[in-house]
């Protein structure tokens, strides 16, 4: 499974539809203060199910919708899509866990070798995860254009290390947070990796 694209539209300062392709190992994002770099991190946390507007630096959740600028009116919708490549990976006989997700009932030992398996339990080469929010407060989650609940998104990424508050996202100014927290709080990060 690989992260392949991020598409934002009407999210924070990204009024127009903007797409980022991640086809290289290390992607750098640069630009002057206040131009919108950290808003990209907020977009990724948001689409992965972040529910606290405070941790997205706003007061309420509709603060993520483009609020207008000197020359533009506010928009009515924010939408972010995260696209993952989800190729078929070789199936080894010893791994029984995933077969449950791809839906093949185990009749007898023979079907093992031929079952196709993908990291994300969806039978598609590409998986689009989308979140939308309208100014009236209506909010949708979608997987490959089908509406789902937040719980489905969480289940989709179970055990992959991908998530809104996973250790794989280090926000600006928060790198020390893990060191400064008390010894009990540090456990939670370790437990996430368990």
């Amino acid at each position: 499974m690989r992260l392949s694209k991020l598409t934002l539209s009407g999210f924070k300062s990204f009024a127009d539809r903007t797409q980022f392709t991640f086809d290289q190992s290390v992607t750098g994002i640069v630009g002057p203060n206040g131009c919108g770099k950290s808003n990209i991190v907020d977009a990724i946390k948001w689409v992965l199910g972040e529910r606290s507007s405070k941790s997205l630096r706003g007061k309420e959740m509709i603060d993520v919708i483009f609020a207008g600028s000197a020359g533009r009116k506010p928009l009515g919708l924010a939408s972010v899509t995260l696209t993952f490549d989800n190729p078929i990976i070789a199936q080894d006989a010893s791994d029984s866990h995933h077969d449950k997700t791809s839906g093949h009932a185990l009749e007898n030992g023979v079907t093992w070798a031929t079952t196709k398996r993908r990291t994300l339990p969806i039978d598609a080469e590409e998986v689009d995860v989308e979140r939308k929010l309208f100014r009236d407060g209506t909010s949708h989650y979608l997987i490959n254009n089908k509406r789902v609940r937040l719980r489905d998104i969480r289940e989709l990424f179970l055990d992959t290390g991908v998530g809104a508050d996973a250790y794989s996202i280090i926000e600006q100014g928060k790198v020390d947070a893990m060191l400064l927290s008390n010894p009990q709080e540090r456990r939670t990060i370790f437990e996430e990796a368990a």
Binding site: L3, Q19, V30, D176, L179, A193
Partner: protein, 185 residues
Amino acid sequence: SRERFGEVFERISEHFAGRDGMFRKLFGGGRAEIRLMPLIKEVQTDQGIQKVQTDEIDLLESGIEIIAKPPGKEPRSINQLSGGEKTLTAVALLLAIFKSKPSCFCILDEVDAALDDANVDRYCSVVRDFASSSHFIVITHNKRTMQAADRLYGITMQEKGVSKRVSVRFDQVKTDGSIKPSALK
């Protein structure tokens, strides 16, 4: 479960504090350690309830202590480290956790702000190591970190208040990360 946590703790500890662990890679030497702390229990004494330090370690309850000893210095508690030393220790620990359970991407937002160039170089080389198996997205103002990226996206607000994405080459970025006008055509 207890065994599972114990296993993961050992793995992270090895990736963080081992001979070829993240701490020594980022500091170019030194020694580090993560320990499970003995439990503090509330005990009934004749003066009422008091907190007493036991010597019992419980995999599911104990807090985690971090000890960091930069090369050539006495072992310090985390508080006495400098700003840059704290950043490096935190990055080493987070990447050790990432290594024990890799995910398909990792985002680092201006993590290199407090680092001097010698440490930025080590940070970049560690990120490059990891990037062979996961995508790394690195936001930075530091020229050296920009050079370590395979692809650069510039964000501009030519139209005030509206962010636009431009693809840039390394030589089109000014020393602070703002984009040269020639790239905006």
